[in-house]
């Protein structure tokens, strides 16, 4: 049994089109996706913008309800669970976004942001100030942030450091699955490498399962075990990362590979 199974997962949006919004158009954002993800695996998800990557991750996160199909975690169909139980399970799933700045609350110190994240799993920590500070400092160290900065605000950090804060916040609830949606796309090369090293190290140390979404195939090749290629809401290819680079079979994968700028020495 796979750790996470997506069974024929589908999400259609209705869009009003035409001059007076009279015509209805169906956008098949995710169109029958079936995938098995093993525990501890890093799965890369690639595809052109608009192919449905973010919608798929929102379905997995239970942020939107599928039109059809289901998400099965360790053999349990999530849609069958009671609401309260789903809320409990949601802690197991955390997201990291491309733009750490807009996803962090500018008015909250690093301490408040992280303590809130930890408290979703350990609510008692709010009663014990020194335990809370210790837990936050530990979390900061885990992602390579100096705990001296615990009282600072997001704007006082560089882009790379803010992405570390966002990663720390995602790790606070001790998730089992992390969905990273373009987590390094906005960063400079040298900072990208730091964050990629961190994510890989964390997935090993904590046994995290990760879905890593990116339009940059060279980054995905480096970090992912397997790569799924998505086109118009469907998975059109799934291969070991290296194999996909060596012998892509779908036209979509070939096109994405051809588009990557190459260093010509």
């Amino acid at each position: 049994m796979a750790y996470l199974e997506l069974q024929d997962l589908t999400k259609h949006f209705t869009k009003r089109a035409g001059l007076f919004g009279g015509e209805r158009q169906i956008v098949k954002a995710v169109d029958g996706v079936s995938l098995d993800i093993e525990k501890g695996e890093i799965l890369g998800l690639v595809g052109e913008s608009g192919c449905g990557k973010s919608t798929l991750s929102r379905l997995i996160m239970q942020l939107i309800t599928p039109t059809a199909g289901s998400v099965v975690l360790e053999g349990e169909r999530l849609a069958d669970l009671p609401k309260a139980e789903i809320r409990q399970r949601r802690r197991d799933f955390q997201m990291i976004f491309q733009d750490p700045y807009s996803s962090l609350n500018p008015r909250m110190t690093i301490y408040s942001t992280l303590v809130e994240a930890i408290a979703t799993r350990h609510p008692n920590i709010l009663q014990d100030k020194s335990a809370a500070e210790n837990a936050v400092s530990e979390l900061m160290e885990r992602v390579g942030l100096d705990p001296r900065f615990i009282r600072k605000y997001p704007h006082e950090f560089s882009g790379g450091q803010r992405q570390r804060i966002a990663i720390a916040r995602a790790l606070g609830p001790e998730p089992k699955l992390v969905l990273a949606d373009e987590p390094v796309s906005a960063l400079d090369v040298s900072i990208q490498s730091q964050i990629l090293n961190l994510l890989r190290q964390l997935s090993e140390e904590l046994g995290l399962t990760m879905i890593f979404i990116s339009h940059d195939l060279s980054v995905v090749r480096y970090i992912a075990d397997r790569i799924a290629v998505m086109e118009k809401g469907k998975i059109v290819e799934l291969q070991q990362a290296e194999a996909l680079f060596d012998s892509p079979s779908s036209d979509c994968a070939k096109m994405l590979l051809d588009a990557i700028p190459q260093i010509r020495a």
Binding site: E48, S49, S158, G159, S185, A186, D188, V189, S190, I191, Q192, S193, Q194, L196, N197, H215, D216, L217, S218, V219, R221, Y222, I223, A241, E242, M255, L256, D258, A259, I260, P261, Q262, I263, R264, A265
Partner: protein
């Protein structure tokens, strides 16, 4: 003679934290029709370098402290605002990462495209509209005679990028400054935009100054490259040379940190430390504190900036004795 010749450009920002030396004595030139790259991490001064040439620096807090930028016999840095207006958007065009920086959301594309033509070329309105439709066609907008009457939000992201390029090129500028035009785009759209810039450049003979932090993009589009670090150009070389024989430790470190250059599963190389605070004066080589070749720093350059020296034909590097061989 080069089309544009920039010499010892210095742009500082006078802030409460001190004087930020954003551009600290930069020299480079651009020949007609070629593509010159400026590559460096964010905050290194790439945008400020180019905006200084067009008087687009907010003053205060910014101030051009010195230097010359000769374009067609005139020093751009010494031009009055009214004379600059005849050059900016006419003979030197500009495109950005976010097309909405140059497009007005409340005006139809037609109005925005013909404005520079009415302003600079005294065409009639219908002549200008004709030219604008041709330009949209040239950048690959389908049904241009219909789409020209749309507003910016009616275009997809990739199409908006094309409209911005059309707008920058409609006056047939001699130089196009492209400031990270593909940084936020996905690979396939990035590929289309890069190809489009190249095609139009070849058709019009425009020179391009291409700003980016992406070395792979640099290697594909540029003829010559300037590597910028902490407000200075630390290396300049023809593109093939820069990648086959990088000389400056910063360029070497930057190349080593590209994931595509490394084996899967191996720890990625990262540059230790952080770029210097530009509000503090930097003595000697700006990269020395992060440099892995400089050993005990004994032999590193001190006392002012290292000189740019021509280490091999057309390959210039800031000569820090500790770690650069020339």
């Amino acid at each position: 003679m080069p089309l544009l010749e920039v010499e010892d450009l210095k742009t500082y920002f006078h802030t409460r934290e001190g004087v930020v030396r954003a551009v600290d004595g930069v020299s480079f030139d651009v020949d007609a029709g070629e593509t010159v790259g400026i590559v460096g991490e964010s905050g290194s001064g790439k945008s400020v370098t180019c905006y200084s040439l067009l008087k687009l620096i907010p003053q205060p807090p910014g101030k051009i402290e010195g230097g010359r930028a000769m374009f067609d016999g005139k020093d751009l840095l010494a031009l009055s605002e009214s004379r600059m207006r005849a050059i900016r958007g006419k003979r030197i065009g500009l495109i950005f990462q976010d097309p909405m920086t140059s497009l007005n959301p409340y005006l139809k594309i037609s109005t925005q495209l013909i404005e520079p033509l009415l302003l600079h070329e005294s065409l009639s309105k219908s002549e200008a509209l004709d030219r604008a439709i041709k330009e949209l066609d040239a950048v690959g907008i389908p049904e241009p005679e219909k789409r020209i009457h749309s507003y910016p939000h009616e275009f997809s992201g990739g199409m908006r990028q094309r409209v911005m390029i059309a707008m920058a090129l409609i006056t047939r500028p001699e130089i196009l400054i492209a400031d990270e035009p593909t940084t936020a785009l996905d690979v396939t759209i990035q590929r289309q935009v890069l190809d489009l810039i190249k095609t139009r450049q070849d058709e019009l003979g425009t020179a391009v100054i291409f700003i980016t932090h992406d070395l792979a993009v640099v290697s594909e589009v540029c003829d010559r490259v300037n590597v910028m670090y902490a407000g200075r150009f630390v290396e300049r070389a023809p593109v093939a040379d820069l990648f086959s024989a990088p000389r400056h430790p910063y360029t070497r470190a930057l190349q080593r940190s590209i994931p595509a250059m490394q084996e899967k599963g191996e720890q990625l190389y990262t540059i230790p430390g952080l770029p210097p605070n530009l509000a503090q004066p930097i003595d000697g080589c700006s990269f020395a504190p992060r440099c892995e070749f400089s050993g005990d720093n004994e032999s590193c350059h001190s006392g002012g900036q290292p000189q740019l020296v021509e280490a091999s034909p057309e390959h210039w590097v800031q000569h820090c004795r500790g770690c650069v061989e020339v």
